[in-house]
Symmetry: none
Subunit: 235 residues, 2 copies
Amino acid sequence: MPQYERVEKVRLLVVDDDPPIADLVATVARYEGWAAVTANSGEEALRLSAEFHPDIVVLDLMLPDLDGFGVLDRLRAAGTMVPVVFLTARDGVADRVAGLTRGGDDYLVKPFAVEELMARLRTVLRRSSGPGFQRSVLRVADLMMDEDTREVRRGDKLLTLTPTEYEVLRYLMRKSPTVLTKAQILDHVWEYGFGGRSNVVELVVSRLRRKLDDTGTPLIHTVRGFGYVIRQAAE
Amino acid sequence: MPQYERVEKVRLLVVDDDPPIADLVATVARYEGWAAVTANSGEEALRLSAEFHPDIVVLDLMLPDLDGFGVLDRLRAAGTMVPVVFLTARDGVADRVAGLTRGGDDYLVKPFAVEELMARLRTVLRRSSGPGFQRSVLRVADLMMDEDTREVRRGDKLLTLTPTEYEVLRYLMRKSPTVLTKAQILDHVWEYGFGGRSNVVELVVSRLRRKLDDTGTPLIHTVRGFGYVIRQAAE
DNA sequence: AGAACAACGACAGCTTTTCGACAGCTCCCT
DNA sequence: AGGGAGCTGTCGAAAAGCTGTCGTTGTTCT
């Protein structure tokens, strides 16, 4: 029984009329091992959906031809039950979307952070793939993060993290024991287009350390001149 | 989305309006067994991309005609998903470039060290060639270097190397059991244009030895009047 | 033995990292 | 709408760590 025998790749359809954004999402997804295709208009989306049979769809609400809702309606009319994650502008129709995200759908406001989008996609996928979806729990040494309850504990001690701290920690844990550069962390955890060229990452790491290492040995390590890792301290 | 199987040599397109730099990169790549072509302008880059179908592109941001971003846009518009590694001046547009690593592309600041560029290219290539990207681990005798975790161990013992030491060791290990001259090491590991006419290489090797050979038999051997090798037992 | 080459200790300058203090913002409660 | 609490990012100073130069000592070759 070969270890490498994995289930089929997740199939993702990204619909956004802004090619850079669509590509960004598709690329990140591919690096996660998914199969991704992009569509830049509603019509193209419908066509690709029929051909590609995605497992999940990322759908921008603002499209040149048909709008996001229109696409959704026609998808559903065609009998497709694919879960959809919507993208909307900050102020736009966020309220209406919220109402429409029945079932397993979800939505995210632009500009978003790629890691957050990926996390939502994973969640939606997990929920929609049949019954008895198992919890998603990340572990590194005695540090545990439950992605459903957002509970983080070091040993028995429950930690209270701010949203940013949580995201940075999740990214570090998900990639552990790979060393990540500050640029990678910034690019994945902060929303695209974030200007702050300062030492935010260092700062959040510093705050995280104070909370994490309060109990026990240090888990987040600095790799000088390169970046950060989270892992059990090696011998 | 076709997944290009790479059985052939890696195909690299280098785009830089400074011919010496472009040639430098192309030469090193060819020496690694890759197929490399150079372009000195944006237009030429687009033309060559269409003809040559590179697996990866090194793209200077400052070009006479179209700038780097323009080239990227037109590549993407043409439906090419080739990964790109950007080159930028130290202070220049580094900010605007940041944000590109999130897609999986990467960037490097000029002047750079050739080995570092090659390492990044290999990483990007590895990440972008499908899922299940295997770890890259170098081994020489009981010395092991994991390029993802940046972990280096001699036997069980974990070593802590500084960035320079790490780079020199990687280069030695990657070329092992070939003997490298000090000039080669200097030229590959230090940024081009490095002034140090001194004995830096000897010094770093010396420091490496102290850390490596602390346990076990010497691995880095001096080839008097020529250079250094790393390998099991010499002569 | 003498010359060339190599090893490496010590030091000073410099770069990177850490983190306290603070101010703007947002969100929530009343 | 006002007040307050908590979150985020900026700034700057201090600490920590890295690198290259110099110069002395050791080694090898002729």
